[in-house]
Amino acid sequence: MLVQTIMKNKTKQVKYQAVIAADECKGCERCVNACPKSVLQMGREFNFMGFPYAVYVGEGCIGCGACFYTCPEPGAITIVKVTGD
């Protein structure tokens, strides 16, 4: 049973993604420092409130949650698990 589950999961493609709400970010860079895979960067643009905001490079998130817990804003970062067939 366990083996089957593992095999099933292996065939499925699991990816994680950091989604950043640009207008909620204040550009403190805590998430950029905290990310163990260095997949977050400070963007070059400014958001509605005039802060530079963090952006996800698009590849390599492992879903560890370090950026989420270190971020002082409630919903600026969301980690999404994407399960493909």
């Binding site: 994680y16 709400a21 207008d23 909620e24 970010c25 204040k26 550009g27 403190c28 860079e29 805590r30 950029v32 420092n33 905290a34 509605f48 409130m49 802060f51 879903g63 560890c64 949650g65 370090a66 989420f68 817990y69 270190t70 971020c71 002082p72 804003e73 409630p74 919903g75 600026a76 970062i77 969301t78 980690i79 999404v80 698990k81 994407v82 399960t83 493909g84 067939d85």
Partner: protein, 494 residues
């Protein structure tokens, strides 16, 4: 392709912060990189995961987190500076089912409200305190706090905190852990992801203790204030890890929640009638109906009675007995004691006024109708206050015969000697009262009131010494002995 949110906006927060001013209603008012946001996220996540939002009350302190009630989807109260633990005590005592969280900063908890906090901790109130320690006063602009590190430069310590002048930082967790009542004390840091996850665990543990009613839990969080310390995110974390943690070591200082039984306190009473009964117990009135009035001439006017003697002789209780007698016979009475700071040995006196009308002032400074003195200094002091034709009763064992004008009616009672025969000097006051009974009845009382006087005295003494049966017996004995002595001495004179 399916998408699931692994880490997202905690359910403990409102979906949008409608009360927060400004165009962005989704984020908080804190500065970029503030520790408050990190901690409040952990709390919001915990209260939604533990399903206690409906009974959680978060108390916002004064400080940067004063507006935390904008954010949490639970109950919130804003309190005066430093008073959160006192308010929390009231909340948790009146409603033991509520989960009360006192969220405080280092100025609020460590400075202005420290006594409130430490007393609540010592009482072991069932609440949790989340103490945010950022080593500086944030909201007011970066002044020195009790927790400012040695050598740290702030607005009010521009050369760095000197331990010679300002002392060492206040270690709150260590102090609280030393008390017996608190069940859980931990210090965590909101710096790296690893430390934040340890803090997350501590938040949940503290809340679980509160849910289980184990008592007082406190978690101290070392947080960053990048604005006032003028540091960026990286340097802020380094400051916490390399400078704050050596001064405020992390870890659990106390965790005895498993050994403690849940707290049970007396339940609050909300019934108005019941509260009234408890506060104002119904007194069983003895003897006479409420419309009873003495007929004797003496009670037609207001009577002022002054009593003086040494403290410990029973002067005050004698006054109280007379006042009680008046009260039991439906008079308005006042009893005003006056004594020195010493319990025994100093002089004491009291003023008793008995009147059918409302008594204006309980003070007697002249024109008293009856003076009872039990020592020489009081005799010298109060004799001039006695009105013309006033009655003087004194203890002839200890006081020389006074030199007073012939209009005064004077009774000398060998009170101390009679009391000694009965058993103790304590009963001298009842002997005097016995003398008073005779003094009054021959001149002022009608026959009906003469008989009533003795009964009133017995009722009064039972009222005054309601729980000491032997003392009541001996006092009554002393009363009749005093009465007998005066009658005998009068017979001898004749």
């Amino acid at each position: 392709m399916t998408e699931t949110i692994v880490h997202g906006r905690p359910k403990g927060f409102f979906a949008t912060f409608e009360r927060r001013p400004g165009p962005i209603k989704k984020n908080m008012h804190y500065c970029p990189g503030c520790g408050h946001g990190i901690l409040q996220k952990l709390i919001a996540e915990a209260i939604s995961d533990l399903q206690i939002q409906d009974k959680t009350i978060i108390i916002s302190p004064v400080g940067c987190s004063v507006f935390s009630y904008y954010y949490f989807d639970c109950f919130g109260i804003s309190v005066p500076h430093g008073r959160a633990p006192a308010t929390a005590t009231g909340l948790v005592r009146s409603n033991p089912d509520s989960i009360v969280i006192s969220y405080q900063g280092d100025g609020d908890l460590g400075a202005i409200g420290f006594n409130n906090f430490i007393q609540a901790a010592n009482r072991g109130e069932n609440m949790c305190v989340f103490f945010v320690n950022n080593a500086v006063y944030g909201m007011t602009g970066g002044q020195m706090a009790p927790t400012t590190l040695p050598g740290q430069k702030t607005l009010t310590s521009p050369y760095g905190r000197s331990t010679d002048n300002e002392g060492y930082p206040l270690k709150v967790s260590e102090m609280v852990a030393a008390l017996d009542s608190p069940v859980y004390v931990e210090r965590a840091a909101l710096s790296t992801a690893k430390n934040i996850l340890a803090a997350r665990k501590a938040v949940r543990k503290a809340l679980r203790n509160t849910i289980d009613r184990k008592g007082f839990s406190m978690v101290e969080f070392l947080a960053g204030c990048p604005t006032n310390l003028k540091l960026d995110a990286k340097a802020m974390n380094e400051f916490i890890n390399n400078r704050m943690i050596p001064c405020f070591p992390l870890g659990c200082f106390k965790d005895i929640a498993d050994e403690r039984d849940p707290i049970r306190r007396p339940a609050g009473i909300y019934d108005r009638k019941k509260v009234r009964e408890l506060l104002y117990p119904v007194r069983v009135e003895k003897g006479v109906p409420p419309d009873f009035r003495n007929n004797s001439e003496i009670f037609q006017k207001t009577r002022k009675i002054k009593l003086g003697g040494f403290g410990g002789q029973g002067v005050l209780s004698l006054g109280k007995m007379i006042a009680t007698m008046g009260r039991l016979r439906n008079f308005n009475v006042s009893w005003l004691p006056s004594y020195g700071p010493e319990m025994r040995g100093g002089t004491a006196n009291c003023s008793v006024i008995i009147s059918r009308k409302t008594i204006g002032s309980p003070v007697i400074d002249k024109n008293c109708n009856l003076l009872i003195v039990l020592n020489q200094p009081s005799m010298d002091k109060f004799l001039p206050e006695l009105k013309q034709n006033g009655v003087l009763i004194y203890d002839s064992t200890t006081i020389a015969k006074p030199d007073c004008s012939p209009d005064k009616i004077v009774y000398a009672v060998d009170a101390s000697n009679i009391a000694k025969k009965i058993g103790s000097l304590m009963y001298a006051n009842s002997v005097i009262l016995g003398a008073l009974a005779v003094a009054l009845d021959s001149y002022f009382l009608t026959p009906a009131d003469q008989a009533d006087f003795d009964r009133t005295f017995e009722e009064a003494i039972m009222d005054c010494f309601s729980n000491k049966e032997t003392i009541i017996k001996l006092n009554i004995e002393a009363f009749y002995a005093g009465k007998k002595a005066v009658i005998e001495s009068r017979a001898g004179k004749k």
